[in-house]
Every structure is written in C-alpha cells, then in structure tokens.
C-alpha cells in the first residue's frame, strides 16, 4: 500500500482497462494451437524461399562510399598522384601511415611539373581504423578508401601495404569498376585534375561552408 502513495495520480479517462480474454475449450485443449504451429513450420519448410546469400559465390553489393582498403591513385600519366605533403600522415589518428618524401627528378621530362614525390608510402592495414580522415585530408585526392572489404593475410608483414601494393589496389579497383565515389569537396591542389562539376556543385550537407 505504501507504494500506491508514491505513484503519481493518473487521469481516469486516460486509463483504458482491457479485459483478459476468456479461455475457450479449444484453447485449453492446446491441440489446435500445436497443429497450427506445426502447419506454419511445414509451410515455411515446403514453400519458404531461403533468404540466405551464398557468400563466397554471391558477393554482397558494397556501397561505393564504403571505407575499405586504401589505394593510391595514379594520374593520367600513370605516375603516383601523391605529392608527399604529409597531410594524411598528420591527420591519421592511428599513426598507421608512414611517408618518406624525395625530390622529384628534375631532369626527367616525365616529372618536370612536380617538386616532391613519395619515395616510400606504407600503410599498416592492421593498425588503420578505417576512419577515412586521410582521404579527407588529401589535397590532391591521391589516397582513397575503396570498397574492398575482404582483406586477409597470413602474417603481419604482408598486411603492411607499401606504395606498389597500394597502387596495385588502384589498378584492381579501376579494372573491376569498383571506384570509390568522389566527394569533390573543397578545393584540390594543382596536381589533381579538377572535374567541372566540382565548382558548380553545392557543398555536401552536414559540413560548414569551409567543407
């Protein structure tokens, strides 16, 4: 009774009392309920359509903005697009990116428009938390997260991706048509190609004017 005083009073018209249903003879016999349960089970067993996806044979459709394995993009000349600015390495919260920059070979006509390029570029895929901040930090859209989700390896060493491996991920994803979506957000550096839509498109929602 003491609890009843602690309960706040309720308006009478807001309370609707339901009646407990009466038990019929068939309900108390249990057998019709058991039969209907069995019928449901049999119906599903006989004519139910399996919703299982046969995984290794049928792969799931991964959305293109999925944050999977990284890739290093190539430009039109097939060179690595990265300009070794260390922005991604700085932005990385997991400290999994390591870049060693080198001056671009000036006497080579192939490289004459570049000052720097990454001599080595390694990402520890086991350490990475796949947050996508490197992708956002990159001024030239050189590093991107692809929709490759099934990354496996037998040793820790082979999970540390170097430049060649990251570039090969680019080649694979381009070949298989699983290109990640371009956000086209912000202004890209002169080393990146600027798509015409980038200037016209409004900034994506959810971010301030600075993007």
């Amino acid at each position: 009774m003491s609890e009843s005083q602690t309960n706040p009073p309720v308006k009478k018209k807001t309370v609707k009392w339901g009646e407990a249903p009466k038990l019929s003879v068939l309900d108390a016999l249990y057998l019709p309920a058991i039969a209907s349960g069995l019928a449901t089970a049999v119906r599903h067993a006989v004519s139910g359509k399996p919703t299982t996806r046969q995984y290794p044979e049928v792969e799931p459709e991964i959305p293109p903005n999925y944050r999977g394995v990284h890739r290093l993009n190539r430009d039109e000349a097939g060179r690595v697009k990265c300009v070794a600015c260390y922005m991604c390495q700085t932005a990385c919260p997991a400290n999994c990116i390591e870049i060693i920059a080198a001056p671009a070979p000036k006497d080579d006509p192939h490289w004459k428009d570049r000052d720097k390029f990454p001599a080595t570029f390694t990402i520890d895929e086991l350490r990475c938390i796949y947050c996508g901040m490197c992708e956002e930090a990159c001024p030239v859209d050189a590093i991107e997260l692809t929709s490759v989700y099934d990354l496996t390896g037998m040793t820790r060493e082979e999970m540390v991706f170097d430049k060649e491996k990251l570039l090969s991920v680019f080649d694979q994803t381009v070949k298989s048509g699983r290109d990640p979506v371009r956000t086209n957000r912000g202004k890209l550096g002169p080393a990146s190609e600027v798509s015409p839509t980038a200037k016209d498109a409004p900034p994506p929602p959810g971010r301030g004017k600075r993007g």
Partner: protein, 396 residues
C-alpha cells in the same frame, strides 16, 4: 566351450548380427540426425542450412564427426574426474541398451521363420525392461551435472531429475492400456495384436494413450518444448556445460538414440509397427515381405522423428511449473481415466472398438480447465485486477 558355441550358433548369429547392426547404425544415425535436424531447422526458418561439404552438405555429418574426434580432451580443474568420465558413457550405454528388446524390423511371434530384426526376441517383459533401462539414462545426466561441479550443470541435472519422476508415471500408465488390450508385455506380441485392418492400430482406439505417451516421451528425451535441463537461455548448456569434444558427443548421441527409441516405440505400440493394409504378417513370410515390413516400420518411424523435429520449431519452451503441472494435473489423470476405460471394456467383455470413446476425455479435461480459468478471471484473480484492488494506480 567351442562345441557349445557351435551348438547354439543358429540361435546366436541373428543376435550377433542384430547387435552389429545396432552398433553400426546408431552412431551413424546420431550424426545424420543432427544433419537432418539442421536442414529441417534451416528450411523452417527460410534458410539453406549446411550445404558446403559434399552434395547438399551430405558429408557435413562426417566432417563434424572427424572434427569432434580430433578435438582436445579438455578436463576442467574443478570437476570430479571419475564421475565426469563415467556420466557420458553411462548415458549412451543406457540409451543403447534399451534397444536390446526393440524390434527394428518385422519379427514373427513364433520366432521360427526369417531373419529376426531384434537382438533378444521373445523377452516376455520387453516393454517393462525398455522403460526400466531408458529411465536409467537420467543417472547419466544427474551424475554429469553433479560431476561438473558447476551451478548451471547441477540446476540442469536437478531439473532433469524432477522432469523424469514426473513423466515416468504418465508414460508407464499410457502404455498399460495397450498392454492390457494385447495381453502381453512382449513388444512383438503387442505389434501382432494390431495386425489386420488399419483400424486395428492402437492409435485409433487409444488416442488418449498415444497423446499422453508421445508427450511424456518428448519430455523423457529432453526435447523442446521440454528441454529445460539444457535450455541455453537460462542454464548456458545445462548439464553438459562443462563437456566438450567426444564426451559431449556421447551425451548428444544418447539424446538422439533416445529420440529414435521413442519414435520406434510410438510406431510399434500405437501405429501398427510393421503392419500395413495388404501386407501379410511376418510369420512364414518371404524375404520380400520382410523387407517391405522393415520399410513400412522405418517409414512410420521417420514420420514420428519428423514430427518431433518440427515440433521444436512450432512450440515455445514450457516454464518449469507449467511442465510439472502438465504432467501431474493433466497427463496423469488422463492416463488413469484411459486405463479405467480399458479395464471396464476388458472386464465386461465389450468390443474393444468402443474405446474410441476415450477421445472425449481430453475434451472434457479442456472444458474443465477452461471453465476453471474463466471462473478465476471472474473472481478477479489476475494481475490487472490485483493492481486495481491494491490501489497501485490512483486516480486524480
């Protein structure tokens, strides 16, 4: 010694052959029952089920068996080692020993002709021995739960114990009616008493007995909806929480052997065994007829097994008081009333087909329990009215 062995050889070899068949078939059957169970469960739940090993996943059972044999023998520190080892083997031994008196194919009651699909034919206390042995399997579970030295295990074991002493009674009582009609405890003779037309099968004029028997048998096998000794949601794994590898498999095998035993008993006692309209009885029959009888019996058994497996996906688990209430307040009175009916019919020499009237019994019982429940509703014996009268809700 050898000369006496040779002398008894004509009697001995069918028994040895039957033992070999049982020893070979039971583990295989246990493995494939898990496969069938997984497949049926998958189909009922709109899934595909195991389909990786072999065509339709048929070798999944073999793969499971190999894997489980190669598993590490893990013995927890806190168990009573001797009992811990005895329990699973005891459970399997009792489950398989019950098969000794069970005919798994047509057996002629004159024991003269043909191959006898039975280890020990002509045991006059057949069904009694079967019940006695199969109730020993409770010891395997109880000893296993005790030896595990674990709260969940001992809870599972105690539940199993309580379940066994509740469901042994209606199980025995429901069989008594059939036994009285056949006039024998011998299983072959009980089956032989059901020869003739399809209406001679016990299920048609002992429907209550069949219902009670099947329900109690489900409880005996610890299958859903009576799987309280091992319910995962409450007791982790119940009595086999601490068991892994081959010892766990022995428990599992015992459970599936139990299911097979129960299905055989249902088919033999109530569904006419190897009898089928148009098929002659086993005495003096040709091999073809014997094989046909075997097929008929196995078909009936697989039907019962299928119902048991499907029931798992059709019914929710009982609460423990509901489980005991069903046995003591529902099944035992029903079985008793049925037995009284049989006694009256037999004593007065009335035609046995009058017993079909016992089908009214469960309806009467349902009417009684429904009216009792509705009366309790009218008295306000519900949580809702309780709240109202105790003033837990106050109005402005």
């Amino acid at each position: 010694m050898i000369s006496s062995l040779l002398e008894y050889w004509p009697v001995l070899w069918p028994a040895l052959a039957a033992i070999a068949v049982i020893l070979a078939v039971v583990p295989f059957l246990g493995l494939y029952m898990t496969f069938i169970e997984r497949k049926v469960a998958a189909y009922v739940q709109d899934r595909v089920g195991p389909n990786r090993v072999g065509p339709f996943g048929l070798f999944q059972a073999v793969a499971d068996g190999i894997k489980i044999f190669l598993k590490e023998q893990l013995i927890p520190d806190h168990v009573y080692t001797a009992l811990y080892f005895i329990a699973p083997s005891f459970s399997l031994i009792t489950a398989m020993f019950a098969l000794v008196v069970m005919p798994f194919g047509p057996v002629a009651t004159d024991y003269q002709s043909g191959f006898r699909f039975m280890v020990a034919p002509g045991i006059d206390i057949g069904i009694l021995m079967m019940l006695a042995i199969s109730s020993l399997s409770a010891y395997g579970i109880i000893v296993g739960g005790w030896a595990s030295n674990n709260k969940y295990s001992i809870y599972g074991a105690i539940r199993s114990c309580a379940q066994f002493i509740s469901y042994e009674i209606p199980l025995g009582m429901s069989i008594l009616g059939v036994v009285a009609i056949a006039g024998s405890l011998n299983i072959e003779r009980i089956v032989a008493s059901q020869s003739g037309s399809i209406l001679d099968w016990n299920m048609f004029w002992q429907p209550v007995a069949m219902l009670v028997f099947f329900t109690s048998a489900l409880a005996e096998t610890n299958r859903l909806p009576f799987d309280l000794p091992e319910c995962e949601q409450e007791l982790v794994g119940g009595f086999h929480t601490e068991y892994s590898g081959i010892k766990f498999v022995l428990f599992f095998l015992a459970e599936y052997t139990h299911i097979v035993t129960v299905s055989f008993l249902t088919a033999l006692l109530f569904m006419g065994g190897w009898h089928f309209p148009g098929l002659p009885g086993p005495s003096g029959a040709s091999t073809t007829v014997l094989l046909l009888g075997l097929f008929v019996l196995l078909a009936k058994v697989s039907l019962v097994v299928m119902v048991i497996i499907l029931l798992r996906w059709a019914l929710p688990r009982f609460r423990f008081d509901q489980l005991m209430g069903l046995a003591w307040k529902g099944l035992i009175p029903l079985a008793l009333a049925n037995l009284v009916g049989v006694a009256i019919v037999l004593t007065l020499g009335l035609p046995k087909h009058l017993l079909i009237a016992t089908a009214v019994l469960p309806i009467l019982a349902a009417y009684y329990s429904a009216s009792k429940f509705n009366a309790s509703l009218a008295e306000g014996n519900t949580l809702r009215n309780g709240l109202r009268t105790q003033g837990a809700v106050s109005y402005e």
